[in-house]
Amino acid sequence: METEVKLMKGNEALAEAAIQAKCDAYFGYPITPQSEVLEYLAREMPGRYGIPLQAESEVAAINMIYGAAGAGGRVMTSSSSPGISLMQEGISYIAAAELPCLLVNVNRGGPGLGTIQPSQGDYFQSVKGGGHGDYHLIVLAPSSVQEMADFVFLGFELADKYRNPVLILSDGAIGQMMEKVTFPQHEIVKPQKPWATTGKSPYKERNIITSLHIQPEKMEEVNLRLTEKYKKISENEIRYEEIQTEDAEYLLVAYGLSARISHKVVELAREKGIKAGLLRPISLYPYPYDVINKLADKVKHILTVELNAGQMIEDVRLAVNGKVPVSHYGRMGGIIPGPDEILKNLETYIK
């Protein structure tokens, strides 16, 4: 069968992918720049697949996710920065109770109410916790409309595989831009969820979804089990893209929207005879520390490009472990730097 090529907004491609991935229910609350997801699903889900529900708040939405995921559903919510902040208690509960689900943050500028323009200011919140306690989300960062769609399928798959919430960390630009996109034609197979609360049959023990472990020993046991799981995820699920890194002397590290721009920076630099390369982390948790560490052996300088005050740079520095200098270039407030501007900054590090 020939795959149809469509021209779609990032947010709409993501929403369409949710239907095609047989998402059983979507719970969300409007916020710019991602309201298209809720609007698209409110329009398209009825009669095709799944239940859309506009919740009274992001707090309610994330707790509906908890209940629905615990009942065995394949479920998703999306929001933008302030709404994701509001969800954090629920996300911590979901991670603790090991409920598979897909979360989407179409990152806008902050702190506070901030701006509706694109930003990568939620990096720390996404990969370092966000909510309380020791937990991790699997975090995927799309840099194109195609990846907005692809990561929905991948996200649900990883969520089920590890019984862990997966976060797609996008931004206002990727969400709003229009590009060509195709959808996979493969059949969707959802795994059995024998742990779900669907009603206790007389032949089995009751299923309980909880994150409460009042005995310290029991709580630590759960913490250790989760830690073990995160280790396994780190071993198996690191994703990244390398662009012209083989002979690179100057390495850019960027994800999502800033990786798109940095790609262009690499091209411009090469035209000028500067051997630049780009490492694009696709999974932000787990993070490609080892890859960056190895690249640090070959390059003279590393520049991280982020639409924030410098957040991912901390992970890059951890990876580099002092081998070469690492610097940051970024704009904030919803301002997207052009490739020339970034190249100019890169050139200041070239001796």
Partner: protein, 284 residues
């Protein structure tokens, strides 16, 4: 009692006839429902939570819906309800029980879904979820234990705390001018079109225990109709944090609590909505 003495004597004389004698002399009128786990509860002596747990599980047994019931217990003294109720359950964040129940019911529309919430949970931190869940008419049963304090966190003021009532955070008595008024959330939500059945009961006397059970039975049966939310408020007690003996709480409940929270139906289903439902016997 004469009969008892007789049996005891016979048992000691001949163990073999023990069973026979008990069967002859006693008619089995009550036993723990099989849906209630056989273990000690952590609730303080005289606390309403344990009575309501038992009634709830009697209802699940009588309706024969153990395999079709999913419960939600949020943070509060009853957060450990899943240790006692032998059904599938989810523990919810403080205040979010009805949102969690909404998620469950949307995925499993043919299951009986209920929440079991305290007043702090349902009428303070979770007020928005309470109102909007009922406003959507989610086809679930909400069981609301109104004991006028935060039991689990040791007796702070609740939205339902009576005017003038002393708690650890209203040590001079609740001053309604600065601390708000006792919130009659049952009356408030009864105004919503999505509320199908709203009633207020108590478990302070054998009669009221029976009435509470009947209310719970009906509230569960109404889920067969998919006409809206059923809401059973049980005016409870908290001997530990009211700083009273269980018996003293009975007086306080009768003399103070029920004046502010009078018992009885607040909203009843329209008779035409109940045509196909046998609300006495329990089966459609």
């Amino acid at each position: 009692m004469q009969e008892e003495t007789l049996i005891n004597k016979e048992i000691s004389e001949d163990a073999k006839t023990e069973q026979v004698c008990i069967e002859e002399e006693y008619e089995l009128v009550y036993e723990r429902p099989y849906t209630l786990v056989d273990r000690h509860m952590h609730y303080c002596p005289g606390c309403a939570h344990s009575t309501v747990h038992k009634l709830l599980m009697e209802v699940v047994q009588e309706l024969d819906i153990q395999d079709k019931t999913v419960g939600v217990a949020p943070v509060g003294c009853s957060v450990f309800a899943y240790d006692y109720l032998d059904i599938d359950m989810q523990e919810a964040a403080h205040g979010r029980a009805t949102a969690v129940a909404t998620g469950i019911k949307r995925i499993l529309p043919h299951r009986y879904v209920f929440t079991y919430q305290g007043d702090g949970d349902l009428a303070a931190i979770g007020t928005a979820e309470t109102i909007h869940t009922i406003n959507r008419g989610e086809n679930i049963t909400i069981i609301f234990i109104n004991n006028a304090v935060y039991g689990m966190t040791s007796g702070q003021m609740a939205p339902t705390t009576l005017s003038g009532m002393k708690t650890t955070t209203s040590p001079y008595g609740r001053d309604t001018k600065t601390m708000g008024h006792p919130l009659k959330i049952g009356n408030l939500i009864a105004q919503l079109p999505g509320a199908f059945y709203v009633t207020r009961t108590a478990v302070n006397s054998p009669l009221n225990v029976r009435k509470t059970k009947k209310a719970l039975l009906n509230a569960f049966k109404y889920q067969q109709l998919d006409k809206g939310t059923s809401f059973v408020e049980v005016v409870g007690n908290c001997p530990s944090n009211w700083k009273m003996t269980p018996l003293q709480t009975q007086d306080f409940l009768t003399n103070e609590m029920l004046k502010v929270y009078p018992l009885g139906d607040i909203k009843l289903p329209a008779p035409e909505d109940l045509v196909n439902l046998d609300i006495e016997e329990g089966v459609v």
